[in-house]
């Protein structure tokens, strides 16, 4: 390497995020230490009320519920996306498939959710088909429960799992799997132990891309969920609009961001070490080692 162009490459990124993210967000962070204004906004008076209000069992309960739904949906999405993007990466029609996966998401979210209601409703297409086939006599209640929320959440964010996985698997050297098989590994072990460690960046990205939006989403639970579904994103939005308590909206968001950042860092570390140990114990297939391990997946 001759001249170090790194800072040049990173300058637009850093500059943009400082101006349009760091500065604006620090205003909001500052708000969390102020008293709430009577009709929204803030009074410029120091106060820790917003942080004291965080200790609220109802909020904990909502946070736990949200976390659980996001985890379940993420697990389903990644499990679906790995084989699907594996297929895409090995196919001759990569670009076509990539477009095929993303195009449904260029129609409005609400419209697609309404379509799901037409499919899953009690008088919906799925129920009437099952009944007319004589498979059952009574309709099944598909909608307005946690399973429905998970299903539609999976639907909403699936391409965000597929696209990063696809772009990492696409460069994977498939001869490695064959080499492992030549050395006596079964197809399954060969795939799991050689492929997975080599696409860990893709997996991490897919998990983050799906977990984070699923965690913040509240539109799906609101429309598809039952009378108990109430999400953390909902709480924050309501503090800002309905109850006009801006400092509290800010302090909840800060707590949430701090927790998720920690979670993400922990996840990436665990992911890395488990993948590395998997790789070490893997077959003696000639696995490439990464050039540098620093902050690669961040």
């Amino acid at each position: 390497m001759k001249k170090n162009y790194g800072p040049v490459y990173v300058a637009p990124l850093t500059g943009w995020l400082v101006v349009f993210f760091a500065i604006p967000i620090s205003i909001i962070v500052y708000y969390s230490f102020l008293k709430k204004g009577f009709n929204g906004g803030v009074m410029h008076e120091f106060s820790l009320d917003a942080f004291r209000a965080l200790y609220n069992p109802t909020i904990f309960k909502i946070a736990f519920n949200t976390f659980w739904i996001a985890c379940a949906s993420t697990a389903v999405m990644v499990a679906l996306a790995i084989p699907a993007s594996y297929f895409m990466a090995r196919s001759r029609h990569k670009n076509l498939y990539m477009l095929l996966v993303i195009v449904p998401f260029w129609t409005n979210f609400l419209i697609r959710v309404y379509a799901w209601m037409a499919i899953l409703g009690n008088n919906g297409i799925l129920n009437s088909t099952l009944i007319s086939m004589g498979l059952m006599h009574e309709h099944i209640q598909f909608l307005y429960n946690t399973n429905a929320v998970i299903l539609v959440t999976v639907y909403t964010y699936l391409p965000f799992a597929i696209l990063p996985l696809y772009s990492t698997i696409e460069k994977f050297d498939f001869s490695l799997v064959e080499a492992a098989r030549d050395l006596g590994a079964t197809k399954f072990t060969a795939t799991v132990r050689v492929l997975l460690p080599n696409i860990r960046g893709g997996i991490t990205t897919a998990v983050l891309f799906t977990f984070i939006p699923a965690f913040g989403n509240y539109a799906v639970p609101q429309i598809i969920g039952g009378s108990d579904s109430y999400m953390l994103g909902n709480v924050i939005a309501r503090e800002l609009t309905v109850t006009r308590n801006w400092p509290l909206a800010s302090s909840i968001s800060m707590a949430l961001t701090a927790l998720t950042t920690l979670g993400v860092l922990l996840f990436m570390r665990l992911n890395r070490s488990s993948m590395e140990s998997a790789r070490e114990s893997a077959t003696s297939a000639p696995v490439k080692t990464p050039q540098s391990g620093t902050g690669a997946t961040a």
Partner: protein, 262 residues
């Protein structure tokens, strides 16, 4: 790389399942756009929603074009910034590198409504008039981390000896970038761009706060229809958009093909 070995039945099955899953609602949507009734029950074929779409929905089209312009411009700019950033962060070592690569994904973690309000306060503070331009700034901001991460994931485990070789053979920085690094990162760049377009087209919350007079986007238009019920005209519009995308994709197929085969 491109071994012609047939792929496994399992992955084919999962892919087919995924496609069916993704397209099931779209089939419903296309059917409803031709439904003579505004209700979910089928009531005969009709073009009434298309009629309404093309002859009496000026505001809707206005919002649609706003959305399209924002999606293309913000996705392009964020793809350029994100890709350059990913290359810089991955390929070079410099001060604050690790801090930047961790900090760059924090925008993804902040609830949308907070980003929206913070940008609104910021724009109001610097006296920037709310318009399509402020929406573009906001969308580019939330798109950048996504592009950055996809491209970085792609670059991971990239065989850097190739670049070293390029340098050894006398390639300059620009040559190495355009001839070696970018082609290698390309599927990641395209994925990032597509994700950015999608995020931009979908966003309601942030857009709401940073939009100004005359710059309503399609999601704003549709969400604020909720009070009186979302009209099936939107179904017709969605079908037109999908058809338009397919035509555009077919037209640009040659371009993409060309770029892929280097």
């Amino acid at each position: 790389m491109r071994s012609a070995k047939p792929t496994g039945k399992f992955s084919l099955g999962m892919f087919t399942l995924t496609i069916i899953f993704l397209y099931m609602p779209l089939v419903i949507l296309v059917a409803y756009s031709f439904n003579n009734s505004k209700m979910m029950a089928w009531n005969g074929f009709s073009l009434r929603w298309y009629n309404e779409l093309f002859f009496s929905s000026e505001n809707l089209w206005h919002s649609f074009w706003n959305s399209a312009v924002i999606a293309v411009t913000s996705a392009s700019v964020s793809t350029v910034i994100g890709t350059l950033g990913a290359i810089g962060l991955y390929w070079y070592n410099f001060k604050f590198k690790k801090a930047i690569s961790v900090a760059a994904f924090i925008p993804m973690l902040i609830p949308e409504i907070i980003i929206g309000v913070s940008l609104l306060i910021f724009f109001a503070g610097i006296k920037l008039q709310l318009s399509l331009f402020t929406i573009f700034l906001a969308h580019t901001t939330f798109n950048i981390p996504f592009v950055l991460m996809v491209v970085m994931a792609r670059l991971e485990e990239f065989d850097f000896t190739i670049i070293e070789a390029a340098y050894d053979l006398g390639a300059g920085e620009l040559q190495a970038l355009s001839k070696v690094i970018l082609p290698a990162a390309f599927p990641g760049v395209i994925s990032g761009f597509l994700i950015a377009v999608t995020l931009s087209l979908e966003d309601f919350v942030i857009t709401f706060f940073v939009s100004g007079p005359g710059s309503s986007t399609l999601p704003l238009h549709i969400y604020s229809m909720i009070r009186f019920g979302v009209s099936p005209v939107i179904n017709a519009l969605s079908v037109v958009v999908i058809a338009g995308t397919v035509v555009l994709a077919a037209l640009s197929r040659n371009v993409v093909k060309y770029m892929f085969q280097k």
